[in-house]
Amino acid sequence: MSNEAVVHTHHDAVHEVHGDHHEHHHHETFITKYVFSQDHKMIAKQFLITGMFWAVLGGLMSVLFRLQLGYPDSNFPWLHSLLGKWAENGHITPDAYYALVTTHGTVLVFFVLTAGLSGTFANFLIPLQVGARDMASPFLNMLSYWFFFTASVVMLSSLFVETGPFSGGWTAYPPLSALGDASPGSKTGMDLWLISMALFVVSSLLGGLNYIATILNMRTKGMSMTRLPLTIWALFFTAVLGVLSFPVLFSGFILLIFDRNFGTSFYLSDIFISKVGALPNEGGSAILYQHLFWFLGHPEVYIILLPAMGMVSEILSVNSRKPIFGYMAMVGSLFAIAVLAFLVWAHHMFVTGLNPFLGSIFVLLTLLIAVPSAIKVFNWLTTLWRGSIRFTPGMMFAIGFVSLFISGGLTGIWLGNSALDIHLHDTYFVIAHFHIVMGVASMFGMFAGIYHWFPKMYGRYLNNTLGYIHFWVTIAGAYMIFWPMHYEGLAGMPRRYYDYGNWESFKQFIELNRFISTVAMIVFAVQILFLFNFFYSIFKGRKMTQLNPYGANTLEWTTPLRPGHGNWPGEIPEVHRWAYDYGKDGKEFISQTAPVGADESHH
């Protein structure tokens, strides 16, 4: 569908094209504007706020299980008030601990960092930055959110099931996840988990197809692919990854549903459950699920990271007042990462008994992915070099992202090498690695995006002072939480343990765990401060008065202060150049809409 088609199918857009500058003169009810909205900007906000809800819940869960790890012998009566039978005597039970760990992982990876991050910014930025009035299909876009919403409701309901939510780890490996007799969480909780995740996959696919269609077909006049801002390139590859890998995860889930409910043996074989007896299933392979899961699971890491990388590239360039260094290399490395993302999944499975030769191929491909990652880091550094840096809160988080991406990315070189992984696999080293590189780094990308585009979203600014406090506490806290975990991992300390007190080999870290838990609570509190800043500023923040407060080149800053549905009241602007003409020929910035001058230098 082309821009023109959208223009002619859209009431409000048509009005605006006819030069009517009253943006809200058409009748929008509360329902069509705020609930079942088809405006990409509103859908983005819906994704963002739902994502925030889950981030708070998932973060709170981590605080609760960190409480257990830091204070395994203490009782907290208020926990009993909060969790009831899941915390008898104010002490979290193992069942509750594993349920919290599992839900924390699922929610943060999928609901916050996939839906909350790429759902928000793909929706918000794609039409604004490519110069389109809305997505290719606003209706599918709306469905995408509501499928996510339904998935959220189902997941939330699983927390209140009598046998508890699923508690077998976010990867949900069968047979544990397939057999209710093996774990109470694998009963009704797991059914709800699977339904929720299936709905989530549908949401991702609807969104992803829409993003791809919009980027490929609805760019404004002059916006060739090589003139796209890097955010759009990143979101494009993210969508491609999602569309190609989520169906595989879905197939894995379908087989799991069959094994659970219809007596098939895709994943089950030779199983004897104590107090139940031998199960009839023979001939299945538990490893098959892991292949299907990680075929999504690894691209998923990049689904989470790429949007953050794209936004960081944009924000670093804008606030350094300098072009992004090596635009084509940045696009090329995004492409390389996207391709390699599909070829490295089995590095999660080095110690499953995988054929060692196959393992060696995956070592090679895994370490290969460090090359495009290194290119990106060096290019970001060169972008800062000899710039004129403005430390907006968005910029701070972008710099923080680069720092965290380096720290976490380098330990990937350790874990990707199977002969080291055989020692470090499933220890706290892994926890430290992926929390830094995927968890916290992507959260930083998300924060950078929120601070940077908040004025465009709500027409007001976030409070900068709170932003700076938020940044400094979070980056210092993140390092204090996760850096020492490498040492626990080097001691072989396994992840997902409720209590280390009985282990001669691992009990020496109790003091450290207490420290980590304390910092985690402080960092969590500061995130609440950020949320407060966010919601307060929506209504009471300092008003935006300039159209283009950062002096940025991209198209979203050519829209009105509070763009209506359709984004531009008149014609969609035409694009004449790439998005990164900062500091060129002595000019501070040159908007993409500015025609190329006769005496302009070439680069």
Binding site: I287, S388, I389, H423, T427
Partner: protein, 361 residues
Amino acid sequence: MTIFLTVAVIVLIFIVIFQIAKASEYVSVLKGEEVSRKQNNKINGFLMVAFLVLGLIGVWYCNKLYYGKTLLPQGSASLEGERVDSMLWVTLLVTGVVFIITQVALFWFAFKYQESEGRKVYFFPHNNTLEIIWTIIPAVVLTVLVVIGLRNWFLFTGEPDQSKRPMVVEVTGKQFGWLFRYPGKDGVFGKKYYKNINDVDNFLGQVWDDPMGHDDIVGSQTMYLVKGRPVKLIIGSRDVIHDVGLSHFRMKMDAVPGIPTTLWFTPQYTTKEMKERTNNPNFVYEISCDQMCGNGHYSMKGNIEVLDQEEYDVQMAKLKPQYLMAFPDKDPANAKPAAGQDTTKMAAKPVAATAKTEVKL
């Protein structure tokens, strides 16, 4: 009540921070937004470099506190694990150098190139030479790491040297404990089938019709190994996926129901020697389950006792084949006293010295 107070204090702190933040916004409006923005810029630029310095000090201090608590100072307890450690040091060297260079560059550039009067931005959109340099250097370094890694990997996943008389032990995980089977003096495991499993006298589902299995010894809790003799573990699971985690030996391998996996290594210190090396009289080689296996995952512990060959032989002689546990009347030690006196219990009876069970491969 304390909880109420805590919440009140937190809320109070929030309000204070928030009021300060709001006030600072008003001040900035009064002072002129451009002026206060530039002030903030200076402060944050300084904090960037302060964070770098404090961060690097923190890295050093963290290492000082916790290096001693890792496994690295005591060295690997297996011969093969020493390769893991040496590879770890090489990788640390490479990634450590890159870490320092890039982090210093990042925060230093942020400080150095902060906005200031008269700074002219250098328009520098691309440079192919630079791009090629930082594509090729990482590629070459990574190739070296891959080569080292794969050489070790193929050693670990290959077969132990037959000239060193490797032994074989079967390890089976179950919720939440470990079972060990030794092949007995014939050196061959008897057949097993999971539907034969019962938790009374046939924990592994051995097929009693197979005479090869009649001398197989089954134990739980502690696995006995011999110093200097490679051991090949044949790993399986009775129910869900577990993982045999041997952090002191730097090895681990999943236990998957229906699909046997293997792992081998050569213990190089007896448990007694490790007690001295680590200065810890309670030292014990622990098997930790490293794959989420249910709500008792954290308690799924096994022990390994590494012995000299003589001690091992004595220890093994004390253990009775599972077949004789299941059919006590077949036990020559029980031949004269009443047969069928207690046929179901597997409780450890004093074992007669005549039931000699020397295990060899």
